[in-house]
């Protein structure tokens, strides 16, 4: 009896393992993954610092952000927006950083774009890039949505939101990844800024650039009133978005990285 039970159990386990091991070798997935999911419904109903603490526990979890429904993500986003008006500097900064992560992790095109600038940061010495080439590099991940105005508009809105959120960070733990994320978002937020109050036109301009990336920026991405130098100044000028990067660099203790990122995104 003992041997029969043992043999049955052993053969069952071996068969299960063998049948799944080939697939597991290439693409590991857990038999228990459906049983180990976050309670996104409960978390999305949290408010205040309780929500901030709960989101900190989920930091970096791909599964958590994949499981969030649109309505749950919207509820969390609205509460984080509210918390960014808090009188408490720490709450404001934490809420802003949490909103950045929520925005990045729930929009794959935003995430891919931020991850695609390595060869700008570690440039090939033989290649000299102008602003158009840099914007071209930054928009590589947009190719699948270049003819989808709604997706492009959402992309620009999310990048603007990220840029604005970082502007509210004045304390707390910030890393070099935040600096990279901000600076990429800042470039797209500047495209929105040069078409004040007119997201539709900004989207059309970005679409025109994606369709014809080799044309001068003044004929595609930028309005008649803004040339390339003025566009760059809005990012790296004395009152440009680079000021937020300086604040983030100071918090992270990484001032030299701020220069590297700024140079990379301005072709210096």
């Amino acid at each position: 009896m003992n041997r029969k039970i043992a043999s049955t159990i052993i053969i069952s386990i071996l068969l299960t393992i063998l049948l799944s091991s080939c697939n597991a070798l290439l693409n590991p997935s857990s038999f228990f993954s459906a049983l180990d999911k976050p309670d996104t419904g409960a978390l999305s109903k949290m408010t205040g610092t309780k929500l901030l603490d709960a989101l900190a526990d989920q930091h970096g979890s791909k599964t958590f952000y994949e499981e969030l429904s649109d309505s749950e993500a919207g509820r969390i986003d609205a509460e984080l927006e509210r918390l960014q008006q808090s009188g408490d500097e720490s709450v404001r900064s934490k809420a802003a950083l949490a909103q950045v992560e929520l925005t990045v992790m729930t929009n794959p095109v935003v995430r891919d774009t931020i991850n695609s600038i390595a060869d700008l940061l570690i440039p090939d010495d033989h290649v000299v890039m102008d602003t158009a080439a840099i914007v071209g590099k930054l928009t590589t991940a947009l190719d699948p949505i270049k003819n989808d105005p709604a997706a492009l508009a959402e992309f620009l809105r999310d990048m603007s939101k990220i840029s604005e959120s970082y502007g509210k960070v004045s304390t707390g733990t910030v890393g070099p990844g935040d600096m990279q994320t901000f600076m990429v978002a800042a470039v797209f937020a500047t495209i929105v800024d040069v078409y004040p109050g007119d997201m539709d036109t900004a989207t059309v301009a970005l679409s025109a650039f994606l369709v014809n990336p080799n044309a001068p920026l003044e004929l595609t991405l930028l309005p008649v009133s803004v040339d390339v130098q003025a566009f760059q100044a809005k990012i790296t000028g004395a009152a440009g978005k680079v000021l937020t990067l300086t604040t983030l660099a100071h918090l992270a203790g990484l001032e030299t990285l701020a220069d590297t990122i700024t140079d990379a995104l301005t072709g210096k």
């Binding site: 003992n2 052993i10 590991p28 857990s30 993954s33 979890s61 599964t63 990844g177």
Partner: protein, 368 residues
């Protein structure tokens, strides 16, 4: 005796406050094919040199094992992503970065190499092992990539004592101390920032950050009860006071303590035992984290099977590590043991977040 204990506690508390900035790190461990192949369900079946960092109750054994030399090497990462690294054209920076990106923002990449000598048997275990670990992962790429290079030399020694509770139940309780020297370098934002500078001098950086080791004496305690019908149960508390202080590292390091519990069944195959001798093990790791809500029970569930066959010449392992399949095998050729295993462990918060696969081999010269 009370005074000595009090003085010891005061000294430990004082030492723990020497350097305010602490960083959490993984427990000392050498990844072996046996533990990997069994889905990391090992505490109730701890034996041989693995007992030194799995469950010290395993020192209470009649079987003696002398590891003249054990060499273990593991590659960590997603197999599909890692094989793409073999196609890198190092002369093309853009191509190199495009290939690295999915690896480092996905499962990451790493290695574990361990080597050492040990003696286990007659209630005692002693050994000295070196464990070299490195791992890199993170996003956004490349600024958000983080990781470490860690080399730990550990002198280990422990003892286990049996208690015959009834005719059919024996409880063994053991303790192991691991005085360790740790050379560790964090690959973090500061290093990434410096490395992006054209004037970065890697040699000077490494010399400055990892020249002097930090020191710690982690302690593990464990118990194993053996019942009738080949059943056993085990409980361990690992990494009690696992703080590494001093040295040239930026931080003091600590490994959080963990409570682990498991059971095993080794059915009596009677006349067939020479042909097939199976053991099935189930284990829950990090129970303290599960109770605190910091980890899911399914992620910490490990199920393993060991099949010793052909008069112990060939051993086959299979398991589920948090539900991820694992397989392995070992060939015992007199004093030479050759083993290989493949498994996957979840490194993220939830199953599916960041499964990190692990191909591990072992070559050891062992008398047992």
């Amino acid at each position: 005796m009370k005074r000595i204990l009090l003085a010891l506690i005061v000294a430990l508390v004082a030492l723990s406050g020497l350097n305010a900035e602490k960083k959490e790190i993984d427990s000392f461990r050498i990844v072996t094919p046996r533990t990997t192949g069994m889905g990391n369900a090992y505490i109730s079946m701890a034996k041989g040199f693995e007992t030194l960092w799995t469950n010290p109750a395993g020192f209470d054994t009649q079987k003696k094992e002398l590891n003249i030399l054990a060499l273990n090497a593991s590659v960590l990462g997603n197999y599909t992503e890692l094989t793409a690294l073999g196609t890198i054209d190092s002369s093309n920076i853009s191509g190199l970065l495009n290939t690295l990106e999915p690896v480092l923002i996905g499962s990451g990449a790493g290695a574990n190499v361990g080597a050492g000598i040990s003696w286990v048997g007659k209630r005692v275990g002693i050994g000295i092992y070196d464990s070299f670990n490195t791992y890199l992962q993170g996003e956004p790429f490349p600024s958000g990539v983080e990781g470490f290079v860690d080399n730990t030399v550990s002198l280990m020694g422990g003892y286990a004592h049996p208690f015959h509770l009834t005719d059919s139940i024996t409880l063994s309780a053991g303790l192991v101390l691991r005085p360790s020297l740790k050379w560790r370098l964090e690959i973090d934002g500061k290093l990434i920032s410096d490395a992006l500078d054209k004037n970065f001098d890697a040699q000077s950086y490494f010399n400055e950050k990892a020249s002097e080791p930090s020191f710690g004496v982690p302690v593990d305690i464990g118990a194993r009860a053996v019942f009738a019908h080949g059943l056993s149960a085990a409980l361990t508390v690992r990494d009690i006071y696992a703080t590494y202080a001093g040295g040239s590292a930026t931080y003091d390091y600590y490994t959080p303590w963990s409570v682990n519990a498991g059971g095993a069944w080794n059915p009596d195959m009677k006349g067939l035992k020479w042909l097939i001798d199976p053991t099935i093990a189930v284990e829950f790791s990090n129970l303290n984290k599960v109770i605190a809500g910091d980890a899911g029970i399914w992620k910490e569930l490990h199920i393993g099977l060991e099949l010793v066959t052909l008069k112990k010449v060939l051993t086959v392992w299979a398991g589920l590590d948090g539900g991820y399949p694992a397989v392995g095998t070992s060939l015992d050729l007199f004093i030479l043991d050759l083993s290989i295993a493949y498994g996957t462990t979840e490194y993220g918060r939830y199953l599916g977040d960041r499964p990190v696969s692990n191909l591990t081999i072992e070559v050891s010269f062992r008398i047992d």
